[in-house]
Assembly symmetry: C2
Homo-oligomer: 713 residues x 2
Amino acid sequence: MMRRLALLLLLCTFSFLVNAQVITSPDKNFTMKFELTPKGEPTYQLTYKKKPVIKQSKLGIKTQDVPSFMEGFTVTDTKQNSVDTTWEPIWGEEKTIRNNYNELLVTLAQKDQKDRHIRIRFRLFNDGLGFRYEFPEQDNLSYFIVEDEHTEFNLTGDHKIYWIRGDYNTNEYAYTTSQISEVPKLIEKATIDVHAQVPIDTLSVQTPSMMKTADGLYINIHEAALVNYPAMHLNVDPKNFRLSSHLTPDAVGNKGYLQTDAQTPWRTIVVSDKATDILESRLILNLNEPTKYEDVSWIKPLKYIGVWWEYFVAGKSTWAYGTDKNVKLTDDPNKLTPSGRHGATNENVKKHIDFAAKHGFDAVLVEGWNIGWEDWFGNWKEDVFDFVTPYPDFNVKELEQYAKSKGVKLMMHHETSSSVRNYERRLDEAFKFMKEHGYDAVKTGYVGKIIPRGEYHDGQWMVNHYIYVAEKAADYKIMINSHEAVRPTGLHRTYPNWIAQESARGTEFEAMGGLAPDHATILPFTRMMGGPMDYTPGIFQTDLSYYNTGGNQRVNTTLVKQLAYYVTMYSPLQMAADLPENYERFPDAFQFIKDVAVDWDNTWVQEAEPGDYVTIARKAKGKDEWYVGGITDEKARTATVRFDFLPKGKEYIATIYADATDASWDKNPQKYTIRKVKVNSKSVLKQPMAPGGGVAVSVKEGSKQDMKGLKKI
Amino acid sequence: MMRRLALLLLLCTFSFLVNAQVITSPDKNFTMKFELTPKGEPTYQLTYKKKPVIKQSKLGIKTQDVPSFMEGFTVTDTKQNSVDTTWEPIWGEEKTIRNNYNELLVTLAQKDQKDRHIRIRFRLFNDGLGFRYEFPEQDNLSYFIVEDEHTEFNLTGDHKIYWIRGDYNTNEYAYTTSQISEVPKLIEKATIDVHAQVPIDTLSVQTPSMMKTADGLYINIHEAALVNYPAMHLNVDPKNFRLSSHLTPDAVGNKGYLQTDAQTPWRTIVVSDKATDILESRLILNLNEPTKYEDVSWIKPLKYIGVWWEYFVAGKSTWAYGTDKNVKLTDDPNKLTPSGRHGATNENVKKHIDFAAKHGFDAVLVEGWNIGWEDWFGNWKEDVFDFVTPYPDFNVKELEQYAKSKGVKLMMHHETSSSVRNYERRLDEAFKFMKEHGYDAVKTGYVGKIIPRGEYHDGQWMVNHYIYVAEKAADYKIMINSHEAVRPTGLHRTYPNWIAQESARGTEFEAMGGLAPDHATILPFTRMMGGPMDYTPGIFQTDLSYYNTGGNQRVNTTLVKQLAYYVTMYSPLQMAADLPENYERFPDAFQFIKDVAVDWDNTWVQEAEPGDYVTIARKAKGKDEWYVGGITDEKARTATVRFDFLPKGKEYIATIYADATDASWDKNPQKYTIRKVKVNSKSVLKQPMAPGGGVAVSVKEGSKQDMKGLKKI
């Protein structure tokens, strides 16, 4: 009896071994093991420096129309491969990115579906794991419907998690920091009111999902290359500390429609024992495809101002021109009833163009220039904007010429109100209109519930729409900055004219209830893992009661923290969001915004802890200039900057923009100091930051004359 | 006590009278009474020649977002108006149409919604009633969602009804004739298999709904001017003989999204004690808006042949070029695996062009010319066709030139597979492609389930799509013949380039199970009340076993009945659907198809009974030529044609195409006689028709020489 048992065990072990495969990361820190369960379910597990990160976790796709890809698999082939290359992004945080991984490609077939196979491709980098499901073209598999994806992430314990609730329509929630086990009791409180929200009714959180283990390991779960598939949220099992994929459904409850050759997006797990490594990870970009465009010369990072913040704070102006409550696109704009409070007037836009020209901004965004703003909101209205009909007080040609004469670009605004058929129908005409009038960048908006009704912002249908718009825009050499779109997954590598996105709770919410002082220390670890954010920083007048429009609202940062955002919140498209007149009140601080680069040769994350602080240094692209930003949450902290990224043996002038000693986000937010010092590669700055404050540093070459009298740091 | 009661009664009567309004038709045959119930519910009732047709029936709209328009109404205004004008359609059954009605416009407000009002507009013609709900622009009503419409049609008894089941996606059912009370027991049997069907789960039938009362009154219920609203089906209460509106929902279950100034389509009730009057009614056209187009010179009725019927019967050819099961629009068509059975080859198309040129047809339709047919069906595939990429054996330029040299137009085919976003995205490019290659008409197809998923063929979203396509096509001077679109409601008056539709079970089903011999006697009373049908008649080779492709299938008519269809099935776009070689076998009968007009000065319905027979005479537009068609169901009958429509005192030559005495649809369908006789305005033809047969007559002027030896009828 014992013998037979032993034999049985041996056989089990044997079968177990055949179906198991192990790869390590190039630096050997990571080990990923693929194996099948006795039922033939694919699983993977991940260790980092010999500690388990992801315990054995199942993989599978439930389908309609064809048998599911869940169990009964055998491994019919495996391939391993190693890659170590570099590539240059069109724009980015680094001039050169290393793509270094070991790959395992497992081919799986089911006993009862022998003529059919799928693949799972794992890529193990020095900063983590990416894997995806692949459905090769084959005789017996062409079309199928994804009913659900069952990808598990079995965590090793009750980690700390920085989370927002899963929602099919919006990412604009405030973050909650808690243990995984605490999610259930906090989820309702975390579900703050956001327009058009559709919170997922199972316990779930959004990706990028940032976690920290009790022993100091940082884990980030997200996805890369979200194309022709719905966005993934994560179901949370708060007892077993298991996360699992939750795909966004379509109008009839299906998740996706695939045609072979097809693949899912990559599921990504970035891991390190240093938080700074998480922010320096380029794993998600590496898992995206190189750009599809042959000519990218027209894609240029830029800094802009806009007719925008005054709509939130100044109380004097509105997007809408008229007071009418019922507007049709066939209406004559001249017959609207003017409110006298319209923001996008010729005069106001010219004022902004003048300011942009004077201070070296590339562009001026103008929102509220086109008919439809009177009744665009909340009516689920299909023919809501036409994108080509200006209000009577916005003279397209006159402003085009004026901007041109000042060497400034106007930036278009296309609020779609999520009426997507309407937008797609008018897209060619809208883009032609832009090019005819000198616009080469557009901010798109997707406020509200989607039309076609029943679809969601995060569903496969909309995912394909955003890419359609990006590609169509590229045909016209137009750059896109999308707001309220699905959160990014590194697709800006493939579509570099999709230059930035919002897809999170940004600065506008400082005027609508405020952002927690730790918000911007979490974003780089969450939302921004997927790509640049048009966070619209630069608010100098943080106390909004200044505008006498009632309430006691404030932007919950110091002025200096707003400067630091230009470095900590990476984007090739940066707004100086405050009103021009506020910048004119603080010209010395404004100088940092004027100076700071928007494209970089290198990035060095100096120090970071999600929810607490982030300090980053970057080298301006093609220039011997460096910029440093440090931010802290509600606690005063000292930022440490090591200037060892500077060329050795040379002195530079550092201009340090610092919170004054008695500054804080809620008291004295506008008290700051600016000092110039000499720095070299051995310099270290220890700079106190106020509660809710930060520090910003520019480093430039200086003549001997400039250096004269400057102290060392 | 009695006094108080009397007073109360008097008050009630008074209030009753105030809220009641009566109008009559211009000829006084109809009386329509509007009144409010004690609960303030709007109602109407209709009598014809003093007989009730519609008993008191409620009207109302249930809404979301705003209080419903169901009850609590008072009449705040009424207006009456009389109209008697004529107008000329761009093309049609008559050169001049009289528009003669008395109108009642009732304005209604609710006590608890005093600042809000709606209107109900009734137009009472000599052929029936049209009414609609109107929502004027006003301060307190701009946007609302239609949750449902509650329009009742309370019938006076258990009428005979010619019906197909209510279905959100398809009209391609076979008709059932029964009493209303019998619908429940027959509905499952009536629900035959139709691709992509979504039978309504309440007991319901489609419109146009044709009924006949026990005392010989004919009643047709449909709608006119279906714009920006879902199509209406009719719920059936088989005990109370009550029909009520059942609107097609959208993906989230709502029925419609309206912005004031808005109105529903007209609900139409055409009534007569003569069946022929129903077919001569122009009420639905009169309730549509005049054309929106300034230039209509490019819109021309036409007769065409096509590479089409062989896909159904001949067994030799297919739409698809390749045998591949997985095709992408990015694939190189030259890399497809040819089946050798492709129908739309250069050679075959040229053969058709030659035939069309030889016999005077305007155009040749070619289906299966473009990549995608390999896997277009049943996969709910989004990127299914691009409408611009031909198969390798279809040379667009060569065929364009060949057709041009022969004076024949090619007709484009755009099967969308109901992938509507895909079609809209490619529409401009597709229409440009057409114009560049000399096409000015397109047959569109909507086979399958709609994408965006969850929408239906008959919903508001798709209703708007079809009109969008018609308007966009007009921009390119392109005519549209839509298949599988929502059934027509007279919109061809407004959009005369939307020249025909299928939207019913047409000739193709003769090759897929057959059509009942009474089918074509019902269609003019049902589907065709809304507009012309591309029925694709003209099948000479009715016994399909002829093709030796297996089965014992047949077209369930005689050859002559197929000729008669060119008159009984009104359409400005008529196909000669059979294979050219079959026409060459019967050149004498084919002459009728070559001769028959497709546009008319006048129409005289000679005799008709739904389900039994239809005989119609028409005068060719601008010509002294007349054509007569008569059809019968499975029973042999004698058609009676009174030639009193001919100018008095003049003799003409009538060519009579008749079933042979021993002909019948199932035996000897191809036996016919052709004889020429002299006719004048006093002539009467009594022509026997075979079971499933018909009669066709052409009447032309003739020289004395031609007339010589001809007998009188």
